[in-house]
């Protein structure tokens, strides 16, 4: 028995009701699934998720006891489960969702990645006419479902998302799927802490490296001096020491306080999903974490990525992929052996992992691989123009040790020549414009300029020479010997829906001060910022420049972010885009949704500052 064990697409309707009732019954067992302290019949697969389908839904927030670590805490659970129930909709239906709030504070639900009217988007004080759901009250959302694929929903109030207010949305297409599969699982990845999220936020402001237990030690320094000599060591350290930044600063909040979950199940217990040898298994992977990027792989299986952020893409086969917070990928795997396969999702800083098993037999569990070495940032990750700095050799050294000791060049090599990866694309295809050439699909040709508002005590860094790094899998994944998905691999499966050239460009710098734990855009935090105005119907390019040393997953509500990956005819649509540290990235937006929309970093503790209201009028 499996959680979302679906019949073939097409054979859907007749079995649907029985399927749903079966899972509803299963849903009652979920409390056991998220509570390893209580006993459970051995045959019950852990992490059984409740699935709700149809067009009318009742969702209720209530404080719910949860015990994932041996200590009981209160989750802000929806319908009593963490994650919240999987919502299964059908493209073309109109869904009605009554959300009741039994918490002591205002609550909300935002339907992440859904194209809907602003009034139904669920962001208090941003969405048109929506002020949140007060305690004891209900709000009924209603909107037509105009898309298909894998999405998710979560709270947009306070820090409720950290305490369990998230769940998967699966939307079946009106027509046939472009790819077949025999089984279908949602994999909701998340991070749980026993700490009050308000306390986490306050702690980060008091001591920003509080959760980082991978700082450089005297012994690291001695080893590097032995290896590179004093001069080499100093040349390598100088920038970091003068900037007062740590190249070990990967995640703000780590496995020190987090337990990483797969479908609400701890790594100790492990989520399990069944398959039969030779079946095509579709995994809908959703990063519903508050603060954690996951690098996911299934040793022994290659994954064919068929959708990004719910939207079908040209299938691409990889060994590993990184999910920024709020991103989703659909992959299809085809296990050929009668053995368990571990679904291994390491936190980006390697402070822990979420784990599950695809298995032909619930009694079996897969071997858990070693975590990779913790990543170390390079000068390139700080947006330095390495050719100009003359440090190229040192950077490569750092990269090598950071990324598994592979002697091969990594992607920073491209940057070092002062070029970007366009050189790559140029090789294969004649007369293609380079990334950064300015035409639709290729990103901006504008020079990067730092505004006056980017100077002051609230900003600790500005990238000197931010590069497009579309084919860079990111820190910790370079040259690890595996095929790792990059944004340069993403191409829409159909023609670009809006092939217009952008009428104008908007530059937005992602800014902050790590040690004061302040976050902003263009050096202006949300509380002080004017809304960003878009003209209804316009096609606009947004250029994001990351002037920090963190990865930021940037999410625009209500409209697609058409990511410029180097092919104007097949521009992929995303709702959340990772901007790598010290890098730039561009996407096109068709402003086809009137009203107020949230636009923000999806790292929960960056969001209060790194946030804009977008108004389309």
């Amino acid at each position: 028995m499996s959680r979302i064990s679906l019949p073939h697409p097409g054979a859907f309707s007749p079995s649907r009701r029985r399927f749903v009732t079966g899972l509803a019954a299963g849903g009652a067992l979920l409390g056991l699934g998220i509570n390893p302290a209580t006993g459970r019949a051995a045959a019950t697969p852990p992490g059984r998720q409740q699935v709700l389908s149809g067009t009318r839904f009742d969702l209720t927030y209530s404080p719910t006891p949860i015990n994932l670590t041996g200590a009981e805490r209160q989750a802000t659970a929806i319908n009593g489960t963490v994650p919240a129930p999987v919502l299964r909709w059908r493209e073309g239906d109109t869904v009605t969702l009554k959300v009741t709030n039994h918490l002591a504070e205002d609550a909300s639900i935002h339907w992440h990645g859904l194209i809907l009217p602003s009034s139904q988007d669920g962001v208090p004080h941003i969405s048109d006419g929506f002020e949140g759901i007060p305690p004891g009250e209900s709000f009924t959302y209603q909107f037509p479902v105009k898309q298909s694929g894998t999405y998710w929903y979560h709270s947009h109030s306070g820090f409720h998302e950290q305490t369990g207010s998230y769940g998967a949305i699966i939307i079946d297409p009106a027509g046939p799927e472009p790819f077949a599969c025999d089984r279908d699982y949602a994999l909701v990845l998340s991070d749980w802490s026993d700490e009050d999220p308000n306390h986490i936020y306050a702690t980060l402001k008091k001591l920003s490296h509080y959760y980082n237990f991978r700082e450089r030690t005297i012994f690291d320094a001695l080893a590097e001096i032995r290896e590179k000599g004093w001069a080499g060591y100093r040349a390598e350290r100088d920038m970091w020491d003068t900037m007062r930044m740590s190249d070990r600063d990967i995640s703000d909040v780590t496995g020190y306080t987090y337990t990483f979950l797969m479908n609400g199940v701890t790594p100790a217990e492990g989520w399990k999903g069944l398959f039969r040898r030779g079946e095509r298994v579709r995994l809908r992977i959703i990063n519903a974490a508050a603060m954690t990027f996951f690098d996911l792989r299934i040793p022994g299986l290659e994954m064919t990525v068929v959708a990004a952020d719910g939207q079908n893409i040209e299938p691409v086969t990889v060994d590993e992929l990184r999910l920024g917070v709020a991103e989703t990928y659909d992959v299809i795997v085809r296990p050929q052996d009668d053995r368990p396969y571990t679904v291994f999702a390491q936190a980006i800083d390697r402070s822990g992992y979420a784990r599950g098993t695809l298995t032909p037999d619930l009694a079996l569990a897969g071997e858990v691989p070693e975590m990779d070495p913790a990543p170390i940032l390079t000068h390139g990750d700080m947006g330095m123009d390495m050719a100009a700095m003359g440090h190229a050799g040192h950077d490569m050294g750092a990269n090598d040790s950071a990324d598994g000791g592979m002697p091969a060049m990594d992607h920073s090599g491209h940057d070092m020549g002062g070029m970007d990866h366009s050189g790559h694309d140029m090789g294969g295809m004649e007369a293609r414009p380079a990334i950064g050439s300015g035409t639709a699909g290729y990103g901006s040709s504008r020079p990067v300029v730092h505004a006056d508002t980017e100077y002051g005590p609230h900003i600790d860094m500005r990238a000197d020479a931010p590069q497009y790094r579309l084919d860079d899998p990111g820190v910790g994944l370079r040259d690890n010997g595996r095929r790792v998905l990059t944004y340069a691999d993403l191409f829409n499966i159909g023609a670009t829906p809006d092939p217009r050239e952008p009428g104008r460009e908007i530059d937005l710098h992602l800014t902050g001060n790590m040690s004061r734990y302040m976050w902003s855009m263009d050096g202006i935090k949300f509380a002080d910022a004017e809304p960003l105005g878009l003209k209804f119907g316009e096609r606009v390019r947004i250029n994001l420049i990351n002037d920090t040393m963190m990865n930021h997953p940037i999410h625009l509500h209500g409209m697609w972010s058409d990511l410029e990956t180097g092919d104007p005819g097949r521009i992929p649509r995303k709702h959340t885009v990772i901007v790598q540290p010290g890098a730039r990235i561009s996407y096109l937006v068709t402003a086809d949704a009137m009203g107020g929309w949230a636009y923000h970093c999806h790292l929960l503790y960056h969001m209060p500052g790194m946030f804009r209201k977008v108004v389309v009028s």
Binding site: A202, T217, R516
Partner: protein, 232 residues
Amino acid sequence: MKRTLIALGTLVLATNVPAAGGDDPVLAKVMIDRFERQHTGGDDPLMLEADVWIGRDLHKLWFKTEVERVGGETEEAEIQALYSRAIAPYWDLQVGWRHDAMPKPERDWLAIGFNGLAPYWFEVDAAAFVGGNGQVAARFTGEYEWLFTQKLVLSPELEVNLHGKDDRATGVGSGLSDLELGLRLRYEIVREFAPYIGINWTKKFGDTADFARDHGEDTSDAQVVVGFRAWF
């Protein structure tokens, strides 16, 4: 005063941070840098060095205190109440009032200083003081951290005090008055609590040394110290 502050702090910590806006709640931090017994030949002094701040990202009210007790008597007690304003990514400008309650007679000062992190990771607190009696003074403290492990930290410290003129009543002389060098090895059981052992060496110079000799005190002193560091 302190109780009020702590109560206020607790109240503030309990407030909710909304997801949009409210990025900058009023917070409070209490930091006991050193609370230690210094092992000398005679009466072992008890030392407290602590900071309390309350405020937002860029603006804070900042209190600093240093107290030394020997044989049940408070020998030195100083408190500073400062307005702390961020002026650079790693630097706060701090302006306010310093009060020396002990030794008698009491002294009051206007304080202005910089507190922050210098390049190469030196924690620095440098301040100038203007006293009511026309005295001027300067103090520099610097601290560095070497990590043996993520929890075992060796921390050298330096403090230097300078004065504009002699103040016989409080025993300070003009010029370089005294210098303190410390080396502490702490173990962070958790980030918030770390017991330590260390050595501390102090030396008085010039007239300050003479005044000390007049009172039959040593002009230089090395001690083994045992204490803890804590914050919340």
